[in-house]
Symmetry: D2
Subunit: 361 residues, 4 copies
């Protein structure tokens, strides 16, 4: 498994943070789907670092080269492969990390798992940088879903306790999400930015919650049990580094509620069957019910904080103090918003392919 | 995908609630693993209904027949197959559900997905009854993990807002979990039971949170990205009907916290590397770090409540009122506790097989 | 992998020759496909032993019980599960085989692979008996293909050097295959029967070649590289015990030929594109070209022969002589004919599901 | 599926003949395996064109760039990714092929499958050029197997009816295979070359048979049914374009033989259990028995022949005559020899990983 996802489509992500390049292969995509590379680039730019004062000052060129799978602007049926060259890497920043694992990072677990053979520079294959190829695949799926009238959009629901308005679960206000800072309420966004600035000035970082909504979904996507939409989305969203919680609809709150507070009554509206509320987040029995699909993902604060931290020397097996230098985001949540969208789009497009297989539509 | 799970092991679950039987096949298990059928039965009994006043009065014999894969008390290398016959079904109770979908259930989405060909009786393949074969597979994995010193144990953390003590994330008090009602605090358990009784008397139901801990895990289990322990566990736990939230470690709370409040400092203790806290729930970069693995799953209240609910007639496409009769749990959370353990055990055993493959140990 | 097959459908076969039962689960099948159980039984009977003097005198009731997945005569979308109980087993016949492996059987390799934990009776999971559940799955797929106008039919091309007429690769004479003894030429069949009788009387056995044709296939099924029709069919046909060769179209003979003797010229015929010859067996680049798909599978002689054979005692690590008693087919080729059809039908139906997924038709 | 292979390892091959590049990702490989890039290059050079008069005069630089997965000369646990840039392509040669499919090629079937969206230049994703990335993956697996004492080696058994000596199935004379022209008998090689020259001068091409042997294999690799070594090897070998037959051990000849002529008697030799003959090709019940694994693959003649051929115009749906220009091998069999080795090495290494998973060794 590891870096491979999908039931019908097969997404395989490769690369290490400071290696020659990062990229992905995406097999199993139907031929004849149009690809707009400018739209894709605009989507990737939302994830790219160095765009404002709230993210790292590293400048990365997340400009993919498509090696295969496209022909005359359409998918050609062959596996799609794309590559982003790594530039602007400063491996020297990470020279001592092989011996002294950073708290909250995969340095130590990678050391144990790979017996010291892992590529430690910049977190190697565990780097958040690997979400760029995820966004290539997800950006493509997002385009193809859009052509079917399916929109995938996310916003920051919360940063370090400062909360945005939630989506209206019946009619999520997708168009209201800010393009510069992805929130519904500009004012809430300003409070979040203050939280980020505060944390940065105190050599700390902050986490947050991302809420994602998918509209225009037909009823009937997803499968029973392990192929349910929750299973599919959770598996890929948890593949994004730093995610520690994935909730659907009312999520965690169902543990504090009664059945009469959680069930969504059915109603006929203009000859269509809908639900009066959308507490289930658009999923019943793992299968979409035609209402907006809504989920949340919690992102932990960037573990790379500038304040001194307690760690160990792996070679000497003794305690030590670690100071992390280098350019790190005080908050990765804004940049993680398109990544969550990408993950959701991939999972939904994969489930859509299952429906095609099962129904011939 | 649908009812199949696993990277190395291949679990396939079959059956409908009121069909001839339910069961599972489990391929890819090494030969020579001992199987204690009495221990397995005791585990299955924890999930079985009709055991006390807080669950349905239906009596189900969850006694599996092993059709294949065992020989002289050991796995023999061939796929394991087990069958539980369905008895004591009363299909008459569900006769009108094909036309009038129950709010909160998969009746409507199954109708759309399968075009009316689904088996509606008792929820068909979407029934909670399908967690019994999941517990067969999980009960076996639990035994095999136990022989390696790995314990998987869960308790009810919360029912309708009444909360148990949480596990100590550094040394989860697994032995303290009650065998009759799986909580740490007997007093909290009593308050939960009152909540269940109240809801029942008001023709309603209640949801809850289950907390699961895994101790004795070596560092190094799990894979990067989509093969991380979070992805693996979330995929299978979300395969349990009614789960709407899966969180690891601090979970949702990371969105309200700073890096300095989320990172776990490393320390050398008796020559071993450990963390001083366990906020990450024992997982870094998707890989176990040797600390207890801890996660929570939120279970929504039983959707089948006795009070009248608004629904629709699918044949007439008009609004109607639904009254659900039959024997339903006012709270499935206690019975879901072993199911969550089963799911976790399967995911962990599968990840363990990956480690064997990668390291030859 | 082992006993699991399929890209879209997931076939999992379980059982040991003398265990409680054998069976299969088949997940991923669309809902709403009709199932005719009488037709299926007639198909299974073609594989069943004890039907004439040329096969074993064992009587097996290959009558499957469907445990799940069917509802009112149609697939209901849930995984299909079927069970055949084992009766009429005489384990005593095999008592010494655990120590003394039969030449040509899996006794020795199973002993090494499973470290002595395997179920040896009757060959355990390696028994030819496991082809019965393969025929359940294949018989269903055959029905569904038939409704699309796709026929899968095989005949005995050769037994111990006595050869039937081959199929006409342009218009295979499927309707001419004998129902009693599946050959095109009754006379050739008689010669084959003599070969079988001779071998039997000399305490020996004979092998043969089966030729399978699939008509009515649309062009465009199959995928490049490892998903080509040859790869798909060969993987599953080689899953039938005793198969040692799988060839497509001209097969082995391409090694003795020139390009001008192997290429099939294209031609327009009634506005349709066809080929003038069908040397490629209906597959170009792994993808069907609309001509009949034709392949051959060679079946080795039953290894269980009555004449004394040289073997070893595994416990004493010394040479010994083995005499196999019990009821064994002197030739399994006639019974293998429906098994080859079943395997082909499964592979083709799986590839058809891929096409649905890719094209929405 | 399509261009993805593997149970434990996940090989994904991408690229079109005249696209930006071709390559592969290979996930699931243990960390810490050494990689000798010079040895790999020497292996790839065996497949490269333009090396002698018997192959195309195209010069291709099959020099892979490793983008990921290696670190300090070892696998680092992250997915391996490698890229070969396409140079020296002359797309003009293929300009009319989109409309006029070449007999024996995938032009027509790709057109039907992909609805005209395929990349036709040079055969696109169906080009034999895609065997180069297969050789990257296979060359790596071959190195790792070699360190365990497992050798994979193939030779040309036959070209257009001219036959080499076969391998001795008990002790295949691997070291005797010629490095320049891979045959055992130099004289037979000369006769083959004459056949190639003759065909070329007559604007034709020739096919052949490749025999592959694997020595040093432990007993116990492979799985029952669809995971047997025959199924595993056949699936990947049939992924090589032009293969039309895959046979193991006696192969097709088992259809002409008796059990007493096919069974391999067991014997104790120096305390080891071996077989007296090796008619089964080292595989019993799908599992290696410790004897050399031997199989054959038949390669059809290059379909691109210079003589005029009958074809059709897809746009006009009318008959036409096709003349193929460009640089084509009159015989691809010599270049296919390392490709067959590569495919076998991948299949065997994958099966070896299964054994590690099952036995912890």
């Amino acid at each position: 498994m590891s870096s491979t996802y999908g039931e019908n489509l097969k997404l395989s992500i490769f690369g290490q943070s400071h290696g020659a390049g990062i990229g992905m292969t995406l097999d199993g995509i139907p031929a004849g789907l149009p690809v707009d590379l400018d739209t894709l680039q605009a989507f990737l730019n939302r994830r790219a670092p160095g765009q404002n004062e709230y993210s790292t000052t590293r400048k990365e060129e997340d400009r993919p080269e498509f090696l295969a799978g496209l022909h005359n602007g359409y998918t050609c049926g062959a596996p799609i492969a794309a590559l982003i060259r790594n530039n602007n890497t400063r491996s020297g920043d990470y020279s001592n990390l092989k011996d002294c694992p950073r708290p909250g990072h995969a340095d130590y677990t990678a050391q144990v798992k790979y017996g010291g053979f892992q590529d430690p520079a910049g977190g190697g294959h565990f780097s958040g940088r690997l979400t760029a190829p995820l966004c290539i695949a997800g950006g493509l799926c997002k385009q193809w879903l859009q052509q079917m009238g399916i929109e995938v959009s996310a916003h920051i629901l919360c940063i370090d306790g400062e909360c945005d308005d939630p989506f209206d679960p019946m009619t999520p206000q997708l168009e209201q999400v800010g393009s510069d800072f992805p929130v519904l309420s500009v004012e809430a966004g300003e409070r979040m930015k203050q939280k980020i600035s505060q944390a940065k000035s105190q050599l700390d970082s902050v986490g947050g919650i991302i809420e994602c909504a998918v509209t225009g979904l037909p009823a009937g996507l997803g499968d029973p049990m392990f192929g349910g939409m929750e299973s599919r989305i959770a598996q890929i969203v948890y593949g994004i580094p730093a995610v520690k919680s994935v909730d659907f609809g009312m999520g965690y709150a169902v543990g504090y509620a009664r059945g009469s507070q959680c069930n969504d009554a059915f109603v006929v509206e203009n000859g269509q069957i809908r639900t009066v509320t959308n507490r289930c987040g658009g999923i019943l029995g793992g299968i979409t019910n035609g209402m907006p699909l809504i989920f949340q993902a919690a992102i932990k604060p960037t573990p790379s904080i500038a304040m001194p931290q307690q760690s160990v020397s792996l070679s000497k097996t003794e305690n030590t103090t670690l100071e992390i230098h280098g350019r790190h985001d005080p908050c990765i949540v804004p940049r993680a918003v398109p990544v969550v969208e990408a993950a959701a789009a991939i999972a939904i497009f994969d489930a859509y392919l299952t429906r095609c297989r099962e129904t011939g539509r």
